[in-house]
């Protein structure tokens, strides 16, 4: 039931974030007031259907603007969502995460991701989101939105493809950069079919930030050690390859609740409740 509820929330978040679906036919970009706000998940604001701004795109847009250096507004929104929900944002609210989960349902042999690859997203965050937009500038002194420009597959999927399909004039500027970004998108799509949430775990800078905040977020996973029988079912079912019993604060846990649903003793809870914390405080 909880898993079904998560699917409904993911679907609702996907629809809410991309509510301007009628624009897909014309290739127009929504210019309403909602674009002043950032959605919590990765969703390209150049997608005709997008209602909100992308937080990573917004951070880079401000950092790349002369005299600004850092996007405080978007960073504040990311921190606010992160401290409240941690990586539950990835598990429930991110449209691109939902897209990857659907891809992973395609029946093919599944593989386990090589663990060191998961650290790549911290490099992407530091270099492509924070450092390069500040340091690489063009002739006009405008910085480079390096993550959007060279990596983000959401921009290719949600922005370029619908726009190229509906606006013939844009097809004239397709070049090597688009070819590179299309290649990344293909890699991410194939990766997501084989590995659960390939992009989230390897490349997503938002996932990196929310993952760092997982340790202290209000929405969290707790394991009642008195009930746990160490059967290992939670670890076995986790798509993110987390062992909830030993790593309940793991930066990779997206709070999807699969482990809690699989636990035969109901020892795992994922919520805002601090009952176990309070009990631990009393024991201390």
């Amino acid at each position: 039931m909880k898993i079904f509820r998560r699917r409904l929330i993911q679907l609702a978040a996907f629809g809410f974030t991309n509510a301007q679906v009628l624009n897909l036919a014309s290739g127009k970009i929504y210019k309403g007031e909602l674009k002043n706000f950032c959605a919590p998940g990765l969703n390209c604001y150049s997608c005709p259907a997008a209602s909100f701004s992308c937080p990573i795109g917004a951070m880079q847009a401000v950092a790349a603007t002369s005299g600004f250096n850092f996007g405080f507004y978007a960073a504040g929104i990311i921190l606010a969502f992160g401290i409240l929900f941690g990586r539950a944002v990835c598990g429930f609210l991110c449209p691109f995460g939902f897209f990857q989960e659907l891809l992973h349902k395609i029946p093919t042999p599944k593989k386990i991701l090589w663990r060191p690859l998961m650290y790549a997203k911290y490099f992407v965050l530091a270099v492509f989101v924070l450092i390069l937009p500040l340091t690489l500038t063009n002739y006009a002194g405008v910085g480079l939105p390096a993550f959007c420009q060279y990596i983000c597959p959401a921009g290719t999927l949600e922005g370029s493809l619908p726009l190229l399909a509906t606006r013939p004039e844009l097809r004239q500027v397709v070049g090597s950069l688009f070819a590179w970004k299309f290649f990344i998108l293909v890699v991410v799509i194939f990766g997501s079919v084989i590995f659960y949430r390939f992009f989230c775990r390897v490349l997503c800078p938002l996932g990196a930030i929310y993952g760092l905040l997982n340790r202290i977020s209000f929405y969290r996973l707790t394991v009642d050690e008195n009930l746990c029988i160490n059967c290992g079912r939670c670890k076995k079912i986790c798509g993110m390859n987390v062992d909830p019993v030993r790593q309940n604060d793991s930066a990779e846990c997206i709070r999807c609740g699969e482990c809690a649903a699989a636990c035969p003793k109901k020892a795992i809870a994922i919520n805002f409740s601090t009952s176990l914390e309070k009990r631990d405080d009393c024991l201390e």
């Binding site: 970009i29 929504y30 210019k31 674009k35 002043n36 950032c38 390209c44 604001y45 150049s46 997008a50 701004s53 992308c54 795109g57 917004a58 847009a61 401000v62 603007t65 600004f68 996007g71 405080f72 507004y73 978007a74 960073a75 504040g76 929104i77 921190l79 606010a80 992160g82 401290i83 480079l144 939105p145 959007c148 420009q149 983000c152 921009g155 290719t156 922005g159 370029s160 726009l163 844009l170 500027v173 397709v174 070049g175 950069l177 688009f178 590179w180 970004k181 299309f182 905040l213 340790r215 202290i216 209000f218 914390e277």
Partner: protein, 45 residues
């Protein structure tokens, strides 16, 4: 430092960041970028 202190620090930082960003006009920059096609973002620029 306990978890609750970290939580308070992050909440205050987030609020401070949002306030600072709004007051120095970042929302307008974001809107200008988001209300047009960002050619770099979609790999065409």
């Amino acid at each position: 430092m306990s978890r609750k202190i970290f939580q308070a620090v992050v909440i205050l930082t987030a609020g401070g960041f949002i306030f600072h960003g709004v007051t120095r006009g970042e929302v307008a920059i974001i809107f200008q970028k988001a209300a047009r096609i960002c050619m770099e973002c979609i790999g065409l620029g």
